[in-house]
């Protein structure tokens, strides 16, 4: 693509580095900013660069935060004895959007995967263990993707927790057929697991 201005070209190239944005969309965005008052662009760039420079991570759960603690950890109304362990920030947002969970989180930053060079020391597992050692946590909910690497991570953390705390309750989110799904379209592996770990009828109805 040829540009009449080096300034436009630089801006387009930066936009095009963002995920899901190609050269044409990048050009559209750059030209749109030019068509608007200069203040709008100023506000936009200030917001983005302040987000990047001022962002903090929660000392307690590693979620994104504006101060030392995130909005969830600093909320006294939430149940601090229940900790939901998730892979990343997006999972926190997804679970928060359900408006069903009243406990707090712990963000690992990934799952154990030796092929990719990710071991326990690359993840925030130590701080989770420290948290549990303080003795206030009663339940750990593992909300980790049901992949082979996810299962390994759950197993590893559970073992580490049980080494010093036998009484802690460790649970995992349910796996199976999604709500509103037609059974015939569910893949066989999921369906087989759903049958293996079926639920009593009464608990199924109340869980809804």
């Amino acid at each position: 693509m040829n540009f009449p201005s080096k300034l436009v070209e630089d801006a387009v190239n930066e936009f095009a580095k963002l995920p899901g944005i190609g050269k044409k969309t990048a050009l559209r965005l750059a030209l749109y900013l030019l068509s608007q008052p200069a203040d709008n662009t100023q506000n936009f760039t200030t917001a983005v660069s302040r987000m990047r420079s001022d962002i903090r991570f929660c000392d307690n759960c590693h979620n994104i935060a504006d101060g030392d603690l995130c909005g969830i950890c600093s909320n006294a109304l939430r149940d601090h004895s229940t900790v939901c362990v998730v892979e990343n920030l997006r999972d926190v947002i997804a679970i928060e959007n359900t408006e069903q969970y009243r406990g707090v989180f712990h963000v690992l930053g990934g799952v154990i995967s030796p092929i990719d060079g990710i071991g326990p020391e690359q993840l925030r597992i130590d701080s989770l263990l420290e948290k549990v050692k303080q003795g206030t946590v009663k339940e750990i909910i593992m909300a980790i993707s049901p992949t082979m690497e996810g299962d390994t991570t759950i197993f590893y953390i559970s073992r580490k927790l049980q080494e010093f705390n036998q009484s802690i309750k460790i649970t995992s989110i349910a796996r199976g057929v999604a709500f509103g799904n037609e059974l015939e379209y569910v893949d066989e592996l999921t369906l087989a697991r759903s049958i293996a770990s079926r639920l009593p009828y009464e608990s199924y109805m109340t869980a809804k």
Partner: protein
């Protein structure tokens, strides 16, 4: 099950070819290098999602072209199935069943059962265990999606475990809990695969004996013996015993991935003591036994592909083989390739077999009804 027709576009040396097949025997004749094997491999690829001869998809594109396409119409238990396999340099691989793309290729495996016999298969008897494990895996995967999924999982856990052992050695550390996290999954999947293989090999032996006697008129006792470290010892104990060796060699030294399937004649290893003739007869009997096992399990006739195997067999064995495939109700549609038509046509006339002949010359096919 049968393949009704196939359309090849830019596949190997075929520019554009459309062929209709007959439900019994299809005889494909042509000189060496004409494209007989390519045609059989195209049929194989439609059923198994990849080449029988380990060619990569890119290698199967015709020179000066940037994509290939194979389309086949099958009849499976009186239902028609349209399968399209396309591969292009830009868009990569796409596999469609009745105009819907598969999310996972593993979902296709087993829908269209087939067995191929090719000249190089003699390596199954002569070479190392890897080829025999591959035959076990491809056969069992056609029969059970549970086996295929478990196998994929086992291989993935194994890769992780080996990477971990390597990292332990490089970083001079050791985390027993971390290794155990992988071991639990290796154990669960490994035990399932062992069970499947054990059952299959035991059930195959009587079929193997029966086909061997029929093909060779031999009186020897032949069998396949399942050699697995899991036969004597529980997998958990095995991993515990090998821990030092595993850490030293930085890989998992024992397990399902080291299994072998030892072929024997009168109790002696066929690989070492079998004559050329015995080995060839055994190979054919083995493949036919696999065929019959799939038929028994699925209650459906797999497609049989015989690629150029007649140069290496004597007239007696060829006759016995063709009599079996044309008169035994377990056998359905057969594709046979050969460099010359006369000797096979003579046998077909003798056995009163209905067949269709295709003459292949440099990627161009002439049909004789």
């Amino acid at each position: 099950m049968q393949l009704q027709n196939i359309t090849l576009t830019n596949y190997k040396n075929y520019v554009q070819t459309n062929l209709s097949f007959c439900p019994t025997v299809n005889l494909i004749v042509g000189l060496n290098g004409a494209g007989k094997t390519n045609l059989l491999d195209a049929i194989y690829s439609l059923c198994a999602c990849k080449s029988y001869f380990n060619y990569s998809d890119g290698q199967n594109i015709r020179h000066d072209s940037n994509f290939f396409r194979i389309e086949g119409n099958f009849l499976v238990e009186n239902k028609s199935e349209n399968i399209v396999f396309t591969y292009s340099v830009q868009k990569k691989k796409d596999f469609m069943r009745n105009r819907l793309s598969y999310d996972k290729l593993s979902d296709h495996i087993g829908l269209l059962p087939l067995v191929m016999i090719a000249p190089d298969d003699i390596a199954l008897v002569k070479e190392g265990g890897e080829l025999r494990r591959k035959l076990l895996d491809t056969t069992l995967s056609q029969l059970s999606s549970d086996y295929l999924h478990t196998l994929i999982l086992y291989n993935k856990v194994l890769q992780h475990r080996n990477a971990l052992l390597k990292q332990f050695a490089e970083q001079r550390l050791y985390d027993a809990t971390l290794l155990q996290s992988f071991d639990t999954q290796l154990l669960a999947t490994g035990r399932t695969l062992h069970q499947h293989r054990q059952t299959f090999i035991a059930a195959l032996n009587p079929l193997l004996q029966q086909h061997y006697e029929h093909i060779s008129n031999g009186r020897e006792t032949v069998n396949g013996h399942y050699e697995s470290a899991l036969n004597q010892k529980d997998f958990a104990l095995l991993l515990a015993d090998n821990l030092t060796a595993d850490r030293l060699q930085q890989r998992t030294t024992e397990g399902i991935h080291r299994d072998d399937w030892v072929f024997q004649s009168n109790g002696f290893a066929l690989k070492k003591y079998g004559s050329q003739g015995q080995q060839k007869s055994f190979l054919i009997a083995l493949k036919l036994a696999v065929y019959q096992y799939i038929y028994q399990q699925k209650q459906q006739q797999p497609i049989l592909l015989l690629d150029d195997i007649f140069d290496k067999l004597d007239a007696q064995r060829i006759y016995q083989l063709l009599r079996l495939t044309s008169h035994n109700p377990a056998f359905g549609q057969v594709f046979i390739s050969d460099t010359q038509a006369t000797r096979l046509e003579a046998i077909f006339h003798d056995l009163k077999v209905v067949y269709k002949k295709f003459l292949v010359e440099d990627g161009v096919v002439t049909v004789f009804e």
